[in-house]
Symmetry: C2
Subunit: 485 residues, 2 copies
């Protein structure tokens, strides 16, 4: 019995093996095709990745010239490998990250080199037996203290790599001194090769198609706010369609975009960190207030939490009944569209770096829609309706009112950013043209997410205090929005 089952297993094993071998070429081909497709997609998503890879290859090839050219090699000898190492570890995607790492590495090498030479001389005084003991003690003490300092959040965020190189260089130089008395030369060579490698990185990353972390942060914040705006602009319509039992067949990507905002804290912080190392570039001067972007980003994230709640209502089993829906529909849709537009105007203002005054009228409209909702809820039309049926609609209305508050807060923080960063102010007489050109830009990016054709019905009459002079600008932009979105 056992033998039989054993041979059966064996035969099965061989049959399986043969099948597996036969299927191998097809599998291999499918895997290769999938891999090539992945690689292509990765490059297409952000072509700067391909350029970055080529830049690293270029820097490394340039620095390895040290080995090939006799005059350079005779100067540095084997220590030229430090230059190669520096290029590999320092070259990062953005200019800020590369500069930060390069400066960290350079400064740390300089300081640790000096201290290491000092430690070596001190240990040298204590005789042949005392020297290794003292050296060992210094290395232990220095490594322990520096490692502990790396836990400080402030040091960790900006100088972590410098601390690492400090430990490394101090240990190398003080310990090498035990065998080699020419450590001054050793330290000098290390510093100069590292400077050469670091400079190569910084120059190539700054000159050849630079990727600026600051610009990325700027665009990320604008994009995040735009995503929130896209959701809100589409939400009202979508919600009441579902309430009415309709299932729209449009692409629903705009309802998912905000999700990336929920978890963007880390990337925002690291970008702001890198941006602080960067020199002035393009539209951004040297001391651009990068930290204020983090403030705007935090508020956008808090708004995104509310939107997550709205999305929950959208997908809930219990929807507002259609009779409730019909009462608050108009005001809610209005509020949602207006705050969505306000957010998109704010995103646009960041993008083209102008004062965000074009969003003001939308915020006013949203606020008056919120008032409208409140007065609707106060009115007597609800007496005959079962409260349970009202809940979903009332919840949505209440979260929407909360969203208006956050939209206002975001607007305030962007005003602060605009004044600190000296964004251009859009003058009333100039605004229609400027905003029109801006709008086209916004529309372009909005088209990516396939906004449904929402029937924009701006109820100017409900405005408590319509902005008289500025109103021409938003009106002009509204028209162009109405046509194209």
């Amino acid at each position: 019995m056992e033998v039989g089952s054993g041979s059966g297993d064996k035969a099965g094993f061989f049959t399986q093996g043969r099948w597996w071998l036969k299927a191998l070429p097809a599998k291999f081909k499918a895997n290769m095709v999938a891999m090539v497709r992945n690689i292509k997609k990765l490059g297409q998503d952000d072509p700067r990745r391909v350029i970055h890879s080529l830049k690293v290859g270029l820097a490394l090839t340039l620095v390895s010239m040290f080995y090939y050219c006799q005059p350079l090699y005779s100067n540095f000898g084997v220590t030229a490998m430090w230059a190669i190492m520096t290029v590999v570890v320092v070259f990062e995607f953005s200019v800020g990250a590369t500069l930060g790492k390069g400066l960290n590495r350079g400064m740390a090498t300089l300081m640790a080199g000096g201290l290491g030479v000092g430690a070596h001389h001190l240990a040298n005084l204590s005789g042949h037996i005392g020297e290794p003991i003292l050296l060992g003690f210094f290395v232990f003490l220095q490594a322990t203290i520096s490692t502990f300092l790396r836990f400080f959040p402030k040091i960790k965020s900006r100088y972590d790599y410098g601390m690492l190189i400090f430990i490394l260089t101090f240990s190398l130089i003080s310990v090498s001194g035990y065998r080699d008395d020419e450590i001054l030369e050793f330290a000098h060579k290390r510093l100069s090769t590292i400077s050469i490698g670091g400079s190569a990185c910084v120059i190539i990353s700054t000159v050849v198609c630079p990727v600026w972390a600051g610009e990325d942060l700027h665009n990320l914040i604008a994009l995040n706010i735009e995503k929130l705006g896209n959701f809100l602009e589409g939400f009202g319509d979508e919600y009441f369609k579902r309430t009415g039992g309709e299932e729209s067949k449009d692409d629903k990507k705009f309802l998912e975009g905000y999700k990336s905002v929920l978890n963007s804290k880390n990337s925002e912080e690291s970008l702001a960190n890198f941006a602080a190392w960067e020199p002035g570039h393009g539209r951004f001067p040297f001391r651009h207030p990068w930290k204020l972007y983090l403030k705007v980003g935090t508020l956008a994230r808090e708004c995104a939490y509310r939107i997550e709640a709205l999305n929950g209502c959208l997908n809930a089993d219990i929807q507002a009944s259609s009779e409730v829906g019909s009462i608050i529909q108009e005001a809610c849709t209005n509020l949602s569209i207006e705050s969505g537009k306000a957010l998109k105007e704010l995103a646009l203002a960041i993008k083209i770096m102008v004062q965000p005054s074009s969003a003001d009228s939308h915020i006013e409209n949203a606020k008056s829609a919120a008032k409208n909702i409140k007065s609707l809820l106060k009115s007597g039309i609800w007496e005959d309706i079962d409260l349970l049926k009202v809940i979903p609609g009332v919840t949505v209305a209440s979260i929407l009112i909360d969203v208006v508050t956050y939209t206002e807060k975001i607007s305030e923080s962007i005003y602060e950013l605009a004044s600190k960063a000296q964004f251009k102010s859009v003058e009333p007489t100039l605004s229609p043209k400027k905003l029109h050109s801006g709008q086209n830009q916004s529309v372009k990016s909005a088209q990516i997410v396939n906004c449904p054709d929402v029937g924009i019905n701006v109820r100017e009459s409900t405005l408590p205090s319509p902005p008289s002079e500025n109103s021409s600008a938003p009106k002009a932009s509204k028209q162009s929005m109405g046509v194209q979105i």
Copy 2:
């Protein structure tokens, strides 16, 4: 005029300078005191930081022995510095991170060394002029491809450091070969010194007070769920106190704890990543399902978004009017407390690694409280009340009902984790004792956040299908909770 103001400025400058100099010692002292306090706090917050720093110092001192001992030095010579470098860059806080980096470095060095030697031989065949050109081309090609591969999310998360070392070693070895024909020995020495340094790191980090990333992840997830539970347990009471106009003077830390859950995604992911490198340790076998923790963590975060919305209601200007409050207060408080308790039981179940069955009854209670709220809202008592006054209360009720759904989802995901990770099942006859000992543990951690004395009023009668056999366990635990919380 100009001169006058200039000299006035000068005098002012000197006066200021003198003041500044006078204040210097006091300032310096204050800064030093603040720094010492910071250092002390950093160490007290997590004493493992101090131990880690000492471990790094120890490893580095041990490895630098290569220089001091003649027999060791004569073997490796200057290449012994690779061992020191390896220790500095590979030694990380947790065992998993150290192991991951060490294995990455070792494997990458082995592979790149082999390829580098091959590239050198190939280039050697092409004559004196062709050699540097071919070598340069190889370095460029390899660096470009490897750098691009680092953008793949899967490679980035687990093998990023390996790719870096691959580029480094390949360049070093293939390029060094141009000057030094003994590159096989060079490659061999690099590999062996790196192995020695890496082994020293891995051994010391595993043997001396190891910090396991897996355990940290396990505790983090349990703690996060406990924080959500703490909020919910206190929320109902707090909300209706404020509605009633009372201002409680208790410490409100438990209302802030959940905020850290909102942004814990990155740390969870990196811990899970490190944990995957770790061997079995303590209660966790080698292939512990770390990825399921991420699933639980994601659901906990989604629940935290709802809690953020609840917190918004807590701090809103418009609170539920007291007449509305009095109607839904009992059911809402009940729901909040019961789902809070359920989450705390779930956190405890993770912590002590048992099946989370003790949370079931709380979830049932919370669900029946939710039903209760719904039927209250259905009833006719609302007819005389202004709907606007009802909104805040109804919003809270509706979000709370949503929270119950998430609590259930979290419970399901923990059941999945418990079955995959083979958590012990609490047998009905054993449970009271086991859970009692467990409860004490939970109470200890709950005391840190100073829970207010909530009046627990468990309405067993509303249970749709009271769990007959298991009910003894939760009851026993409820008593102990009632006494101590």
